[in-house]
Amino acid sequence: MSKQRLLVIGNGMVGQRFLEELVAKTQAYDITVIGEEIRPAYDRVQLSAWFSGTTVEELTLCDENFFHDNGITFLTGTKAVSINRTAKIVKTDTGMELCYDTLVLATGSYPFVPPIPGNDKAHCHVYRTIEDLEAIQASASSSQSGVVVGGGLLGLEAAKALKDSGLVTHVVEFAPQLMAVQLDDIGGALLREKIEALDVRVHTGKATQNIGTGTTARYRLNFEEGDLETDMIVFSAGIRPRDELARSSGLSIGERGGVIIDDHCKTSDDSIYAIGEVALWQGKIYGLVAPGYEMARNLASTLTDEAKTFSGADMSTKLKLLGVEVGSIGDAHARSEGSRICSISDASRGVYKKLVISNDGKKLLGAVLVGDTGDYDSLLQYSLNDIDLPEEPISLISPQSGDKPVLGVDALPATAQICSCNNVSKGDICASIAAGCTTMGAIKTETRASSTCGGCTTLVKQVLDAELKSQGIEVNNDICEHFSYTRQGLYHLVRMHGIRSFEELLERFGSGNGCEICKPAVGSILASCWNDFILDPKHVGLQDTNDNFLANLQKDGSYSVVPRIPGGEIGPEMLAVLADVAIKYDLYTKITGGQRIDLFGARVDQLPAIWKDLTDAGFESGHAYGKSLRTVKSCVGSSWCRFGVQDSVSMAIYVEKRYRGLRSPHKIKMAVSGCTRECAEAQSKDVGVIATEKGWNLYVCGNGGMRPRHAELFASDLDDETLIKYIDRILMFYVRTADRLQRTSVWRDNMEGGLEYLQDVVINDSLGIGEELETEMQGIIDTYECEWKRTINDPAALKRFEPFLNDDTPDGDIVYVRERGQKRPARAEEKQQLKVKEIA
């Protein structure tokens, strides 16, 4: 039997989700998709991020192989023009005729442009597709000011886009308040106040009569009373379902538009379904993505004969608009009969919170939060799961009084929806844990929970911890059996109590004698705090093998040596020194990935002599052996390069010298690129600096290696001083708070609040520790000394490099053979042969 032919019209967020859900369940369909846009589905919810640097590729929702791998025919840039329901054929604008057995309409919506004379001028735009954004950007480049018509959720997103483009930004709203759907009048007024404080000018209760020519700007919006001049306009006044195809083919359409569907997303034609913003369910069009996803899921079930129905979706939202936190749950306007309200409003903090409570005071029906959405997650759970409210509901939203009732995840029923984007219940998460998913990553992959907006991450983690605990799996973050503390906890103890040695810390806060986990960790913390000589007798027993001999142990027990070459800049005289040393001690030489030269095959007893030669010539330790700053890679920059806009080499050398020797939870790599071509590959480093016309862009928390991660843009166009200040603070905050052996990328991924939190701490000094971090860093910088220089002048330290306690002849078991003109360790069988020869 040949496969059923399934035709999907539209490849937006919901259409794409439907495909993913369907192919995960069945291969029974021969699928064709028609998309009007030239690219596959992308994340419209995050559109404004495009203006702050997020690329189209990053916004794209599926990887390029998705269609091919699943045998789906995908026609981009193709528009369906008619449906012949009797013959079951769809015609396209490219002249194709596509047959179907089942048809899915996922045509979405179009932006509504109010019928105002003059709304079709060249610099009037809408805000929905990537092409719209490109047009907005093009207009913005020749504009000083911009107006967004529409003060709803999307309108404010569009306002952010204009503001990020550097325009004087206005929002014009017909209703008397902003976000009239989600917020009440008080909440709307506070939101307005906050947005105006960000220099976005808000005009409410204004109906635009027409758009004419301006005198000081390109256009003039004429209101009933007054006017407003602007260079460009973006309309964001709501959406309308794209139902024209359904209409012309005679499907049942709602009075105000929208293809009518039943609980199985079926239209008035048994072979045709509709999902997303084109669909009208019980008289409602859902303009949010989560309900669309819910329809996609239900339709995929329906088409695989699973009996699931669509029963409406929650419209609660939590978001940040222009940096202002806004949340709306359920019946925000208290329209339910007999509902009661309790609210708090704190003008000094700019916070407004309102609860809508059932008449008997027991259930939460809705809520409005402006300025602080910290309570959103737990309030949403009360509302969605009909949980009984505490006796004094106001305590749920009162400022941190200490006795705020905590809604433990234990209180949630298994049916409680934890992730609304992907409709994952607490029960689903518990099931995945029972099946062996014991990390956040595993749960995310298995259930999709917290994989879309990430808003429920904390809640998912709480469910995970509670579940593991109840299964008797202890969630233990202790560093090892000798200290019941995390690395962060130990760091604070060392700082606060001024502890200067491992013994002291162990005596006061630990037990036993320590091990190879806690010793190096504490050794590193002590070095980060006090910067004592790491080979001091009281610290030497703590150092990991490499730190212990200030070199990198190789497989045969010999060491490699990496002198510091700041920024990768080295003159011929210094190169000659390296060559001389390599020849003198017969060392294998190789260029590293970090623009340095590694010298291999030194016996432990040779290290002091090698370093004597190196330091005499002016080299310093490169700390390749330490959990510390390794290298600052650079491109040649503006001094030679035709394209360079800043002197990246000088900056790299400055940065490398500043942070050399800083001991940290793990190694740190940096790079400085002299222009946007990024030849130093700064975006794969813990700290990456890229030159701009105006200064430097700072990228953080990237990684190469086993788990590559692109660094994220932390701040733009910084001057030298601010750049260094930020790096000081970021590094010291990392040293303070990261786990043992946790690279910055993982540190960042595990950070609650993510990049924004880090920016808040570093740029806005939200924790008030900025100066402290800088002072601590300055302490490290001021006490830097080359560890090798110190060592070769310290007879007691040198004693440890002697070949044996009781013999001066070196270890004869280290054997080399030659390959391509250099030595390498002999393999076991080669060693055997050499021994046989010797005896013969």
Binding site: E481, H482, G512, N513, G514, C515, E516, K519, P520, P537, V540, G541, L542, D544, T545, N548, F549, L553, K555, D556, G557, V604, K799, R800, P803, F804, L805, N806, D807, D811, D813, I814, A828
Partner: protein
């Protein structure tokens, strides 16, 4: 400082003077020669221990450079190459009971470290 307990049982031991106690920094180890063998000598807060210096996993003479580790009360060294733990009293490998190193009896005389091997 007391004499280390040791698994090695032998009627007749020959003792070799290896070094002074203060030649080893407390909490570290150091290599020594014992006849044609290499041994690793360790000093913790109270005791001196001696085991083979050859790490059976990497076939390199490196155990003296490992970190001392208290594994639930057992004093061990963690190999610097692949991190297996060897008990300093018995030479037993905690991760793989089939791979052991030899442990040697140690005694102190006049602040000198003496290591014994069977004659």
């Amino acid at each position: 400082m007391s004499m280390a307990s040791n698994a090695e049982r032998s009627e007749a031991l020959e003792w070799f003077d290896i070094a002074g106690v203060d030649d080893i920094i407390p909490g570290t180890g150091a290599p020594a020669r014992l006849g044609d063998k290499q041994i690793a000598v360790f000093r913790d807060k109270t005791n001196i221990y001696a085991i083979d210096n050859l790490d059976p996993f990497s076939d390199a003479n490196v155990l003296s450079r490992g970190l001392l580790a208290d594994m639930k009360g057992r004093i061990c060294v963690a190999s610097p190459v692949y991190k297996q733990h060897f008990c300093l009293k018995t030479g037993e490998c905690l991760e793989d009971a089939t791979v052991n190193v030899r442990a040697y009896p140690v005694t102190l005389r006049d602040e000198r470290i003496l290591v014994g091997i069977a004659e």
